[in-house]
């Protein structure tokens, strides 16, 4: 018998009315994705399969795999000692700040980070200037593989460190107490305790990072440095925007889908991507040893590596010519476009996630075939963006807009839908646990009182889940406002968002103005993240 706190499920194995909005979402977004692919594959004169063995495809494939593997390896190699250090030493001054700093790159729009990285590591950057002032005749060049790796490590080393730390912190507290009592320190502690605990999670962490690097668009577009350093996503963009070769774009899409699908399958085999809940270990006045010298060095290097580009962005933003910049109508137009698209995408993502969660929890009997089918659809829509990246979705619909009236407005709507779909996995990750907790607590009571549909939304779900809804909305806004993928493709239809404006300014060598706009975007994103973090803390 179910406990009194268990949500009541309909006794039948079929679905009820609560499933309808969720079903519509699955069918709607499913059709949106499939249509994008169909439009792309039908647009040209058939797939140029003979080019599969050509030099160009081989070069793109080699670069895509090389940069993905190297980025993953470097990120994990740097993250492993950092995670172990943060796990071992839980009370040094600044630990919490560093753990929070590790989350910052995840929220930073890639284009904004690229500008910061250029300020530090570029030919005219701080490091080159420093080396020259020391008498070395060296100018660093970040365009090409090395720049792509640098940027990917900037984003993924903190992610890997947080995932590994979260994995360690999920172990029972007695694990580290036992290790403390038995005097397991240094290498012995690593080999006996930490490495065996971490090893099972490494496949998932590596798979996730590889997936992100494989689908990297903005970083490779801006730092790749030309056709010899392009991933398939960038190649799709270039085939459509510069060569207008839909057949070639379709071929690249096919290869990208095969690569991403294979990696997703491998990721599911190793147990999926781990959860990011770093900092979950309860704070206490526990025993802690002093951080060793190598650890202090690592902490300083990591902090500098992450903070320096952010500091450069702030400085670049502050010295921008604001008097001229704020009189530029393109800035305000782009800000308005970005704001409207992000707000709509955020609301659509949250409403969609709610519909999916309601359908999943209340719409089906316990074991019916309809439930199993819906679960499959829920999983597919919830993670579709990993297999079918925004640039591919954008490419299909970009072709559909040719010759259509009101292109700019329609392009805005399409970018909004792509962004909503892109945000959906993250929104679900925030909302699903809160929704499940609410169902456990109030599910039976609501059902017994006959609260269903709209009444349940107004009386129970909205008041109880308002804060997780707001946090999820903030995350969706952050992702959408910083996205360049779909927006770059639709830039051809005079749709200029803030990231597109930054890209255009960089392309015309107005880096000062680009830094100013990036600063604005960064401030907006961090304000949203700060609000979401505060709410998340209250949520526990």
């Amino acid at each position: 018998m179910a406990g009194c706190n268990e949500p009541i499920r309909p006794e039948t194995n079929v679905m009820n009315r609560a499933a309808l909005p969720g079903l519509l979402v699955v069918l709607g977004f499913g059709s949106f994705i499939l249509l994008a692919l169909v439009l792309l594959f039908l647009a040209g004169d058939g797939l140029p399969l003979e080019r599969l063995a050509g030099r160009q495809v081989r070069a793109i494939l080699t670069f895509t795999l090389t940069q993905s593997l190297l980025s993953t390896g470097l990120s994990i190699a740097g993250a492993l000692p950092l995670a172990v250090l943060l796990y071992r030493h839980r009370a040094f001054v600044g630990r919490d700040t560093l753990v929070r700093l590790l989350a910052l790159p995840l929220a930073l729009p890639p284009l904004v980070a690229v500008l910061g990285i250029l300020e530090i590591w570029g030919r005219s950057g701080v490091v080159s200037a420093g080396l020259q002032s020391l008498g070395f005749d060296v100018r660093l060049d970040v365009f090409g593989l090395q720049g792509v790796l640098l940027a990917h490590v900037f984003f993924n080393l903190p992610l890997a460190a947080r995932l590994m730390l979260a994995h360690l912190e999920r172990q029972p507290a007695t694990t580290f107490r036992l290790a403390d009592q038995l005097g397991l320190v240094g290498w012995a502690r690593f080999t006996r305790v930490e490495w065996p605990l971490l090893r099972p999670s490494l496949g998932g962490v590596a798979g996730l990072i590889m997936m992100l690097c494989l689908g990297s668009f903005t970083i490779v577009l801006t730092l790749g440095g030309g056709p010899r350093a392009a991933t398939f996503e960038v190649a799709i963009y270039q085939a459509l925007r510069f060569d207008f070769a839909p057949s070639l774009a379709a071929l690249y899409t096919l290869i990208q889908l095969v690569l991403a699908g294979t990696l997703l399958f491998l990721l599911s085999v190793v147990g999926g991507a781990p959860q990011d809940r770093a900092g979950a270990l309860p704070e206490e006045a526990g025993f802690t040893r002093p951080v060793p010298v190598w650890g202090v060095g690592l902490l300083i290097l990591t902090t500098l590596f992450l903070l320096a580009p952010l500091a450069a962005l702030v400085v670049g933003g502050l010295v921008a010519e604001w008097g001229r910049l704020i009189q530029n109508p393109r800035l305000w137009s782009a800000a308005m476009t970005s704001g409207v698209i992000a707000a709509c995408a955020g609301l659509v993502a949250v409403a969609t996630a709610y519909a999916l969660l309601v359908a999943r929890s209340r719409g089906f009997g316990a074991n019916g075939i309809a439930k199993h089918l819906f679960e499959a659809g829920y999983g597919a829509v919830g993670s579709a963006v990993l297999a079918v990246p925004p640039i591919v979705l954008g490419a299909g619909w970009f072709l559909a807009l040719r010759g259509v009236p009101a292109q700019t407005l329609l392009a805005g709507g399409l970018v909004m839908l792509v962004n909503a779909l892109m945000a959906l996995p993250f929104v679900l990750r925030v909302m699903a646990p809160a929704f499940a907790a609410s169902e456990r607590r109030y599910g039976a009571l609501s059902s017994s009182l006959g609260l269903t549909g709209w009444r349940r939304f107004v009386r129970v779900d909205l008041p109880v889940l308002a804060r997780p809804f707001a946090v999820a909305l903030a995350f969706a806004l952050v992702l959408s406002v910083g996205d360049l993928g779909a927006a770059a493709i639709f830039g051809a239809y005079d749709l200029v968002t803030l990231p597109v404006l930054i890209l255009n300014l960089m392309g015309s060598y107005r880096t000062g103005d680009a830094a100013g706009v990036a600063f604005l975007l960064g401030v907006f994103v961090f304000a949203l993240i700060a609000m979401a973090e505060r709410s998340h803390k209250v949520l526990g």
């Binding site: 029972p172 007695t174 694990t175 107490r177 036992l178 403390d180 009592q181 038995l182 005097g183 397991l184 320190v185 012995a188 502690r189 006996r192 305790v193 065996p196 605990l197 309860p282 704070e283 206490e284 006045a285 526990g286 025993f287 040893r289």
Partner: protein
């Protein structure tokens, strides 16, 4: 011997615990009290997992208020998760001999002896997940044996065991305590479990030890009203 003098501990959330306690060598003291009163906290303080803001934690005549848990003359058995799941039984026990334990003939001899003592001879190569709750607790006890520290702390060691396993485990711990003259502190939610194991009981309420005495007296005739409430005895 355990001596806690004016030991103060501040916990997150504002709770403040204060302990004064003296336990002579070879004495087995049971620690009882309501949930959240500070029973396990007392053990963690003695083991070194928590550090006091003030006061002295003296163990075997030495001030250990700030020392590393591994350097204290203490072994501790937790309620659960006493073993590393990824290591076999022999290595789990052997780490009690040394953090750099290697499976040499002498070390393995000590491990096997300890496992024999707790009735688990031949379990050396068994994996931890294949052990029952009682077996896992006995492996933890075998590690405490090879660690050979004069103070043994047991934090609700019976919580995961069935009635017959509790009896066996109690007999095993009691024999070990008497043979080695261990100074032992056992935390339990069920005071009756401690009658066969302890010489005395201490009652903790709101982070302070408010009553202490022989087991029989504490369970039947204490004048402490909080203790009587806790035990469910009617007021006089």
């Amino acid at each position: 011997m355990i001596e806690l003098r004016g030991v103060q501990l501040n916990l997150p959330g504002g709770a403040r615990f204060t302990y004064d306690l003296s336990v002579a060598t070879g004495v087995s003291l049971g620690v009882i009290g309501p949930s959240g009163a500070g029973k396990s906290t007392l053990l963690h303080l003695i083991a070194g997992f928590l550090q006091p803001v003030s006061g002295i934690v003296e163990l075997e005549g030495v001030d250990h208020s700030r020392s590393d848990p591994s350097r204290r003359p203490v072994s501790m058995v937790f309620q659960a998760n006493n073993l590393f799941d990824h290591l076999d039984v022999a290595t789990n026990v052997g780490l009690g001999i040394s953090p750099s334990f290697h499976r040499g003939a002498r070390e393995m001899g000590r491990v096997s002896d300890a496992l024999d003592r707790v009735g688990l001879g031949g379990f050396e190569s068994r994996k931890v997940p294949s052990l029952s709750g009682g077996e896992a607790q006995r492996v933890a006890l075998a590690r405490a044996l090879v660690r050979d520290r004069p103070i043994l702390l047991l934090d609700e060691p019976f919580a995961a065991l069935g009635p017959s396993m509790r009896r066996d485990f109690t007999q095993l711990v009691s024999a070990m305590q008497k043979e080695k003259q261990l100074t032992m502190l056992t935390v339990s939610h069920t005071p009756q479990e401690l009658t066969d194991l302890c010489d005395e009981l201490a009652f903790i309420n709101d982070g302070t030890i408010t009553a202490r005495g022989p087991v029989e007296t504490m369970l039947n005739g204490s004048s402490n009203s909080d203790l009587r409430d806790y035990l469910g005895h009617p007021a006089d």
